[in-house]
């Protein structure tokens, strides 16, 4: 039965009726273009729900924790079996789900003359199909009556038989009520927005909580009571200040608590954790950093933030500041430890990232203790001398949200309901995956230097397992079908490059960006980044091909970047047996480049004009594109080089001959 199952979705967007036939399952329905069915309405969440076929072969719709929920017959539902034509409200939008095989069943029945209906245990009929329709039109047949059509195995409710009960009979009253309620809600929302003075994104007025990733309307913000007697919160515990939905405001837009104090601080309606006001004004931009335990994620994060603080305003005319000192307290401490110690010749170390404690907030949601990772938040906005300050101020003014996950969080089996610490993977459009070459014995054998992490016997780990687990989690959270690639950008950051940069054929400059006098800012050299990426990819393909294949089976946008958070091997403290680094020895390499590329992809910074490299020096090659792979052939090769289409338009080096060639940009399949 399920093999031929399809479902017709009918909905109305801005007065225009739309019909979509879904034949592939699971089918993601939501507001975002990345969904299989995109319904661009404000009240629909970016991923609202998933239409799928159950193991029993029935269609089902599962709400994906949408902000405004899914309603069926005025009842909020999380999961519904679609066993007949069903009208659901996704947020405030009505969508009809019509399983195709049911309709076929009904149409077959229509040809049969014998139809019965049953009400209160009594059966009426037989009627012809036409007579039954007349009963429906006249209102004698009610939506909750049961219908039996000859040949059918069971009775079905009249409302589930298409064409039998006119829509206006059953729902006009509800629609009017809903319209009135909707109007009231919108009015309230607008009033609150004016009071709070919050900026909204143009496409949506939803706020995304950086703690639990719940999306909510601005009027649902809770405020944090300030009076010392207002203590005790059901979600945060007995010590926390109470959260409340305000009814009174000061002229400045602050809520007034039960004891009359002005309360400027706001909190998420789900997790009750504080959301700094700038984070509510500037839409968040999530970034996930993934890697195995001890791969150096905390060191990388710290070095990257430290570097971005200085180069972003100076070189790219974008201010990069802490959104809130409280939220970033831990990363600030990390920066102080590494870069601002009282004695820069003393050994320092960042503490091993824990799976509980100071990096997490414990909240009690639905009776469960849930650990939520504390976000680090940074405000981005163009400086006054930014070339397009006026036009892009609103687009670039964003809150960058990152997390310092422990590597253990990405291990298979660690994604539990009480520990949803990696669910930011769903929110982000770019993932940084930290690959540590010292953890791979094949790579380690080719490393140089006296690093305690590469001595014989030091622990190794299969890193593609973590990458595979990450891919599976993204697919699970987003309902992505098997075999379908994600539209996220995956950056493979090959760390500790100070130990292996001798393997690179390309010389990579210290800073891959240059001053652009037209822009009055620097511009990123995308060509050199892609060239280096191709070179690193080739090295990885030779040493650990499974990492490359796993990454490229996940996304078509995979870029490989060498980085070194410290630029120096750590040393062992003979007293403690633990590794540490001297601040004066730190010379990080390319730690900011992945983030600059991320900003470039989001249009925050510009790319340098294409390098007019002497095209005469380039080797002539023949290229053929199949899918997302370009097959490049030239003299002297037995088999073509396979280049991801990501590198189209780039001059890259042939790994075999060392000669350069250009991958044409306009290749078609």
């Amino acid at each position: 039965m399920s093999k031929n199952l399809s479902c017709e979705l009918k909905f109305n967007i801005k007065g225009e009726d739309k019909v979509v036939v879904v034949t592939q399952f699971p089918c993601r329905i939501g507001r975002k273009d990345s969904c299989d069915v995109a319904i661009k309405e404000e009240s629909i969440s970016s991923l609202h729900g998933i239409l799928d076929i159950t193991p029993e072969g029935q269609l089902s719709f599962v709400d994906s924790h949408s902000t405004n929920g899914t309603t069926h017959n005025s009842t909020k539902i999380e999961h519904i079996l679609i066993d007949g034509p069903t009208a659901l409200y996704l947020g405030e939008e009505k969508v009809f789900f019509i399983p195709k095989n049911v309709e076929e069943k009904v149409s077959q029945a229509k040809e049969v003359k014998e139809c019965l209906y049953r009400r209160g245990g009594k059966e009426f009929g037989p009627y012809t199909w036409a007579a039954l329709i007349e009963l429906g039109k006249s209102g004698k047949l009610e939506e909750n009556d049961f219908i039996w059509l000859s040949g059918a195995s069971d009775w079905v409710r009249a409302k589930n038989v298409p064409g039998l009960i006119p829509v206006h009979n059953t729902e006009i009253q509800a629609t009017e009520e809903q319209a009135a309620a909707l109007q009231n809600r919108r009015r309230a929302r607008n009033a609150r927005n004016r009071t709070l003075g919050l900026l909204q994104r143009e496409d949506s007025n939803l706020i995304a909580c950086p703690h639990c990733w719940y999306q909510f309307q601005v009027e649902d913000f809770l405020f944090i009571a300030r009076h010392q007697s207002l203590i005790g919160d059901p979600v945060l515990g007995a010590d926390a200040q109470q959260r409340f939905l305000p009814s009174r405001f000061t002229p400045e837009g602050n809520a007034i608590d039960a004891c009359g104090l002005s309360c400027p601080d706001m909190a998420c309606p789900r997790c009750h954790l504080r959301i700094p006001q700038p984070a509510s004004e500037m839409p968040p931009m999530f970034l996930s950093i993934v890697g195995t335990a001890a791969s150096g994620k905390s060191y990388y994060l710290t070095s990257m933030i430290w570097k971005l603080r200085s180069i972003m305003p100076k070189d790219f005319a974008i201010s990069f500041t802490d959104t809130d000192a409280i939220s970033n307290q831990i990363i600030n401490e990390f920066e102080e430890t590494l870069f601002l110690p009282s004695d820069d010749e003393e050994l320092v170390a960042l503490r091993k990232t824990e799976l509980q404690g100071e990096l997490y907030n414990q909240v009690l949601i639905n009776g469960m203790n849930i650990n939520l990772p504390k976000p680090f938040m940074f405000s981005l906005s163009p400086t006054e001398h930014h070339p397009n300050n006026e036009t892009i101020r609103k687009i670039i003014s964003r809150t960058l949200v990152m997390y310092d996950n422990a590597g253990e969080h990405f291990e298979p089996g660690m994604d539990s309901v009480d520990n949803p610490t990696t669910q930011h993977l769903l929110q982000t459009d770019t993932i940084f995956y930290l690959y540590d070459p010292t953890k791979d014995i094949r790579f380690r054998n080719r490393l140089v230097g006296e690093d305690p992490q590469i001595v014989r016997g030091a622990k190794t780990q299969r890193q593609e397992v973590i990458l595979t687990e990450m891919v599976n989690r993204v697919k699970k959270y987003s309902g992505l079908r098997t075999g379908v690639k994600s539209d996220k950008t995956l950056m493979i950051l090959v760390s500790k490059s100070d130990l292996w940069q001798n393997l690179l054929d390309e010389n990579f400059p210290e800073n891959p960006w240059k001053w652009d006098s037209d822009l009055n800012t620097c511009a990123l050299d995308i060509d050199i980044i892609k060239k280096i990426s191709w070179n690193v990819r080739y090295i990885l393909e030779g040493i650990c091909p499974e990492v490359v294949s796993t990454a490229e089976s996940f996304s078509n946008n995979v870029i490989y970047i060498p980085i070194s958070a410290l630029g120096q091997s750590p040393v062992i403290n003979s007293m403690t047996g633990m590794t540490g680094i001297r601040s004066c020895d730190i010379h990080s390499m390319w730690v900011e480049v992945p983030m600059l590329y991320f900003f470039y992809k989001h249009g925050f910074i510009s790319a340098l004009q294409k390098n007019n490299e002497n095209q005469n020096d380039l080797m002539e090659v023949s290229c053929k594109k199949v899918g997302e792979t370009i097959f490049v052939m030239h003299n002297g090769l037995d088999k073509p080089i396979q280049v991801p289409s990501f590198y189209a338009g780039t001059i890259i080096r042939c790994p075999t001959t060392g000669k350069r060639f250009l991958i044409p940009e306009d290749l078609s399949n």
């Binding site: 010392q228 007995a238 824990e354 509980q356 590597g407 291990e411 403290n573």
Partner: protein
């Protein structure tokens, strides 16, 4: 029988595929919900960096929390402490949790158990394995004189202040701010010893408080000086704060607890439950009425028994030995204080 769990950073854990910070041992057949809870209680925040010369002064966190799992109350005693470098040559910690059901709540109380040097595991270099259930034995109690308080607060009576605070205001936290190397678990043990046996297990505590776990209270909080928890403590005017880093004021208040802590009396104030018919002597006519006298186990007449009319638990003052006897006036003033509260 008690259950236990050990959590540290190791190359591999007991759960297949786990490594790094993970559970390396737990009592066979422990419920998953309990395992997850204990893991969540394994947090540690080093006050001093691993390469700091003061790293050895990082406090050990002894905690007692109470949780309800599947309608059953559990007292969880834990020791979380920094330990030697792990397999990745980085800092490490060792958390040992012991879960007691009602039957294992021995009279020595949580303070007595956590202060026993053999109660917790302080070193781990074994392969992951399951543990057998553990029998909990009572610990011999010492005298009531609070010698550790005498040393660190210069007046042992502060132990009585802490004990009385939690008797009088059982939901309001108390903070003890201390310098590194202060044996806070001994301070708490001595204060708990002043309390009636059936009250000791109601006191949740952390000798090194740096985060509040959701789902359990933490009534006594040891805060290292200069820590954010210590700063936070000063913002809570309703709480009791005993700052051992500053000269403490001369204790002007008087109570049996203070006297006992100073070694001036050997009595403890025992609390009984008015809902238990065995403890009732007569039905209660109205609030605060003194009802009867009764004979204690030693054959002495106990000074007085009082039951309050609002359904609160009553207090019965009994003599532990024959050396002293509470005067009716003192008892009456004690009862009046309770009534006022």
């Amino acid at each position: 029988m008690a259950q236990e769990l050990i959590y540290t950073s190791a190359p591999s854990g007991l759960r297949g595929g786990s490594g790094g910070f993970c559970t390396v041992a737990y009592t066979d057949k422990m419920h998953l919900e309990l395992i997850q809870l204990l893991e969540s209680l394994s947090a540690y925040k080093a006050a001093f960096s691993v390469h700091d010369i003061h790293a050895v002064d990082n406090p050990i966190a002894y905690t007692h929390f109470i949780y309800t799992i599947k309608l059953q109350n559990y007292s969880i005693l834990s020791r979380v402490a920094p330990t030697l470098a792990d397999h990745t040559l980085r800092d490490n910690k060792l958390a040992h949790h012991i879960v007691l059901s009602r039957r294992e709540l021995v009279p020595a109380g949580p303070g007595g158990l956590v202060s026993d040097p053999n109660f917790f595991c302080s070193f781990w270099n074994e392969e992951p394995h399951y543990l057998p259930e553990r029998e909990i034995l009572n610990i011999e109690e010492g005298g009531l004189f609070a010698s550790t308080w005498q040393k660190f607060a210069e007046d042992a009576g502060w132990a009585g202040v802490l004990a009385k605070h939690s008797i009088d205001r059982p939901r309001v936290p108390a903070f003890v701010i201390y310098k590194p190397q202060t044996p806070v678990h001994l301070l708490f043990k001595e204060a708990l010893a002043l309390m009636p046996e059936n009250q000791r297990w109601k006191i949740t505590f952390s000798t090194y408080f740096f985060f509040q776990p959701a789902g359990s209270s933490c009534l006594w909080r040891g805060c290292l000086e200069g820590s954010s928890a210590a700063k936070e403590a000063r913002r809570q005017p309703q709480s009791l704060i005993i700052d051992l880093t500053q000269p403490l004021p001369v204790l002007s208040q008087k109570s049996q607890y203070i006297d006992c802590a100073r070694g001036n009396c050997t009595e403890i104030i025992e609390k009984t439950n008015s809902k238990n018919p065995a403890n009732r002597t007569q039905r209660l006519p109205y609030q605060g009425q003194i009802l009867s006298q009764e004979v204690n186990k030693n054959g002495h007449i106990s000074p007085i028994t009082g039951i309050f009319g609002d359904g609160r638990e009553n207090y019965k003052i009994i003599q532990k030995n024959n050396h002293s006897e509470e005067s009716p006036k003192t008892v009456q003033s004690f009862l009046n204080r309770w009534k006022d509260n």
